[in-house]
């Protein structure tokens, strides 16, 4: 529906009736469905113990409810699992934005020792041994010349599935399209606080996706006992980006607690309240950060924070939540 609207400089950021950014599209239903099976199939991990869906659970907004996700053998992952709703419109992946495509992104968790622990050779060998998958890949890629399953086909199918996860029909969206009864008075109040220049939420969490897809240093605290996370400084080597992370979309945010890259806040109230506690209040003195200029002291009242939280709940829409397969082609136990 947002395709009905203009978008300033085609960036897909703006106000209520602004067009979306460019999206990935053009996958066949067979590719999407194959991607769905792969996504839920633990065969993708080195020991067949976890699938993509272990950390990106459909019922938890495609996150996992954990502060720090767990990989194979319960190994701790570096950061909190982000939601993958509306990935089709996103051009930066990982909290530190080190990847620009889904195909590139998925190789992170697939082959990371602490996550799914696999490697390309083993992944191909495993899948090529399974007749079910051979058939499904042939259906999804009818023009393939080689009967062997290839890595690119795996990546394409998973991308196709992820790009089918669209969440743009929430009560907020109905309001945005002109049906103003879709939100109640308190939610509208929350929306106005959210987009006001006091709270400034919408400056970075900009509609329609509720992210401007930029990096920002906001200076959230690390949970007790965890070291400071340098964020995008690590992949870029740029000290001015120390402690910066990708601005995440807030769509379906009510489903994805705990919040921030480290999962330090376990509810939306605390995550919102962080922004009114003062610029850099949680940054240790020993660490020099260029905190984003929008982080200031808006002095939001408890009432205002509560209204923002009300509004954030109106961004929930799961009408395209996929069905979890009854069984997966590998025959492994489907554990989420």
């Amino acid at each position: 529906m947002y395709q009905m609207y203009n978008s300033s400089n085609d960036k897909g950021v703006g106000g209520l009736q602004t067009g979306l950014p460019q999206n990935r599209d053009g996958f066949s239903p067979q590719q999407i469905d194959l991607g769905r099976y792969l996504f839920f199939d633990p065969v993708l991990s080195i020991d067949g113990s976890i699938s993509c869906a272990s950390c990106h659970q459909p019922d938890k907004g495609f996150s996992d409810g954990l502060a720090i996700s767990k990989g194979v053998k319960g190994k701790p992952v570096h950061r909190s699992a982000p939601s993958i709703w509306n990935s089709a419109f996103i051009d930066k992946f990982f909290w530190d934005a080190k990847s620009n495509t889904l195909e590139d992104q998925m190789q992170g968790p697939l082959y990371s020792e602490n996550e799914m622990g696999n490697n390309p050779t083993n992944l191909l060998q495993t899948l090529n041994k399974l007749e079910n998958y051979q058939a499904l890949f042939l259906e999804a890629f009818p023009e393939k010349e080689d009967e062997e399953i290839s890595l690119n086909e795996i990546y394409t199918a998973l991308t196709a599935f992820e790009c089918s996860l669209i969440s743009l029909n929430s009560p907020y969206d109905q309001y945005a399209h002109g049906y103003h009864d879709a939100l109640n008075e308190q939610e509208i109040e929350g929306m106005n606080i959210f987009r006001s220049f006091v709270a400034r939420c919408a400056e970075c969490h900009t509609p329609p996706l509720f992210t401007n897809q930029q990096l920002a240093v906001i200076g959230t605290p690390e949970p007790k006992g965890r070291p400071f996370d340098k964020g995008a400084e690590v992949p870029t080597g740029d000290k001015t980006l120390r402690g910066s992370f990708k601005v995440p979309s807030l769509r379906n945010i009510a489903l994805t607690a705990p919040y921030e890259h480290s999962g330090v806040f376990d509810n939306l109230y605390d995550a919102t309240e962080f922004y009114t506690k003062g610029r850099g209040h949680a940054v240790p003195d020993s660490i020099d950060l260029i905190v984003h200029w929008h982080i200031w002291e808006p002095q939001l009242s408890v009432y205002e924070i509560e209204r923002i939280v009300d509004f954030l709940h109106t961004l929930t829409d799961e009408s395209f939540k996929p069905q979890i397969p009854q069984a997966v082609p590998s025959g492994l136990n489907l554990e989420i």
């Binding site: 395709q3 400089n9 106000g15 006001s196 006091v198 709270a199 984003h292």
Partner: protein
């Protein structure tokens, strides 16, 4: 030589003064005390503030003690809301297109929006074609008037005092006019054009704010005939990193009075403008194709005009790989400049000391190329060695940067609207041949062949027909034309 300079300057002053005076004042700017001097001046408004042209559409009247928002809620496209003098303490948000909120001025008294330093913003709009005029707006915490992605806006003849971070702040808007407003006491930019295109900022008075007028990450902006005085910084053309739109290009600063911008910088710590030195006349930071012409730039203690890049701008930013941090193609045409840079601070103070200058009209510091200037000998300058002589002498061919016609709504056919609604909404529960949640589309097509009206009726008010399916939620949130479009599309789907 010095005397010659003075003489030339005086002649220029007279010539430009005559030209500009015709447009606005006829008086020396210092004698202007308030907004009344231009109340009868501009198009479309009579002296008592009644709009001269009201096209079709209803008129809603709001009187003291009533709510402006209640009128907005009732209004439809093309309607006018007339607000009579009185004090209104509310945040007015306009999420509709083509609404004109018009203050009626009676005996010189405007309707006042008073935030009592409790409310965030006076006006918030996201619709296109919004006009807000003739208000007095005081004591808000966030903005006086903020626009989010509304095109074709007019913000005119408002008096905005002490409204927090920004006075007038359109963001992501195309084709807008900000004219005849008076603003003061703003903690950041009094008028802040952020990530916009095709904006005219004309004949405003901005004073005692941190920044007067800031054009940031915007293109095609004409800033002319404004009276910009006693701010910490006067006129700014900036690229700020970390924003999704990453260029600032084609800005004309023309015919402005940029006087004595020596106010203490009282910006919020950490904000971009908090680093602007008090005494800034015009600052071009990384922006391209900025033309500075026919301005009076006098008495700004740090400098008259500075052109610099992100590294030398004195602000600490995180790197943004998506932008060009250097200003290119600045043109400094003829301006009247005097008594600037007499008491600089920070990096400018160091540079002028080294160069043994006791004044500074124009400075260029850092990277960026292809700049030009006319008659550099008239000014005290620093670092202009690479500047060429400008070929152009005037931008007078540019009358406006607003578009000849309003930005039209995106042209989307009925068929496409139907398709979007079908895939965006229906397809969550209905597929062509299979049963996901609701009945298959093929099945629905059998029942409603040639009867899209029947589908519209059903989706507006669904009746639970089949026990083996869940009840369908009503789609009352869809406008009528979309309901019809989606019904027609649904009947044509073949797979």
């Amino acid at each position: 030589m010095k005397r010659l300079k003075k003489l030339l300057g005086a002649i220029l002053l007279v010539l430009i003064g005559i030209g500009i005076g015709k447009f606005i004042l006829g008086n020396k700017p210092k004698q202007v005390l308030g907004p009344t001097f231009f109340e009868s001046g501009s198009s479309g408004i009579t002296s008592n503030g009644e709009p001269t042209k009201i096209k079709d559409g209803a008129r809603y009247e709001v009187k003291d003690g009533e709510s402006i928002q209640a009128a907005v809620a009732k209004a439809n496209q093309g309607d006018v809301i007339l607000v009579y003098p009185g004090t209104y303490s509310e945040t007015v948000y306009i999420d509709k297109d083509n609404i004109r909120v018009h203050g009626v001025i009676e005996n010189g008294e405007r309707p006042t929006l008073n935030g009592n330093k409790q409310l965030n913003d006076a006006f918030l709009y996201s619709g296109n074609g919004i006009t807000i005029e003739n208000f007095k707006i005081i004591d808000y915490k966030g903005n006086g008037i903020m626009g989010q992605a509304g095109n074709n806006f007019i913000i005119k003849n408002n008096l905005i005092i002490n409204t927090g971070v920004y006075g007038i702040f359109p963001q992501y808007g195309k084709n807008g006019l900000i004219e005849l407003n008076v603003l003061s006491g703003i903690e950041d930019a009094a008028i802040y054009v952020g990530m916009c295109d095709n904006i005219d900022v004309r004949i405003n008075e901005v004073f005692e704010s941190v920044a007067g007028i800031e054009i940031e990450n915007s293109r095609h902006c004409l800033v002319e005939y404004n009276y910009v005085h006693d701010n910490a910084g006067g006129l700014l053309a900036f690229i700020t990193p970390g924003l999704p739109i990453k260029t600032c290009d084609d800005v004309i600063f023309r015919g402005n009075y940029v006087l004595n911008n020596n106010h203490k910088n009282f910006a919020i710590p950490g904000s971009v403008v908090s680093k602007i030195p008090s005494g800034t006349g015009i600052l071009v930071l990384a922006a391209d194709n900025v033309v500075i012409e026919d301005n009076f730039i006098i008495g700004n203690k740090c400098f008259g005009i500075a052109i610099t890049d992100l590294e030398n701008g004195g602000m600490k930013f995180s790197t943004d790989g998506g932008l060009d941090p250097y200003p290119d193609n600045a043109s400094i045409l003829d301006n009247y400049m005097a008594n600037n840079g007499y008491n600089p601070s920070g990096a400018i103070a160091k540079l002028t000391k080294v160069a043994m200058l006791d004044k500074l009209d124009i400075g260029f510091i850092g990277g960026g190329s292809n700049h030009c200037i006319l008659n550099p000998g008239r000014y005290v300058t620093l670092g202009l060695g690479s500047f060429a002589q400008c070929e152009a002498t005037s931008t007078k061919a540019v009358k406006t940067y607003m578009l000849p016609n309003p930005v039209p709504p995106k042209d989307v056919s009925q068929m496409k609207k139907g398709k979007m609604a079908y895939y965006g909404i229906c397809a969550g529960c209905h597929s062509y041949n299979n049963i996901i949640v609701g009945p298959s589309v093929a099945d629905i097509q059998m029942i409603y062949r040639d009867n899209p009206e029947g589908i519209v009726e059903y989706i507006t008010n669904p009746i639970h027909k089949r026990q083996d399916f869940p009840e369908m939620p009503p789609q009352t949130h869809l406008p009528e034309d979309i309901k019809m479009a989606v019904a027609e599309y649904l009947l044509k789907v073949t797979k």
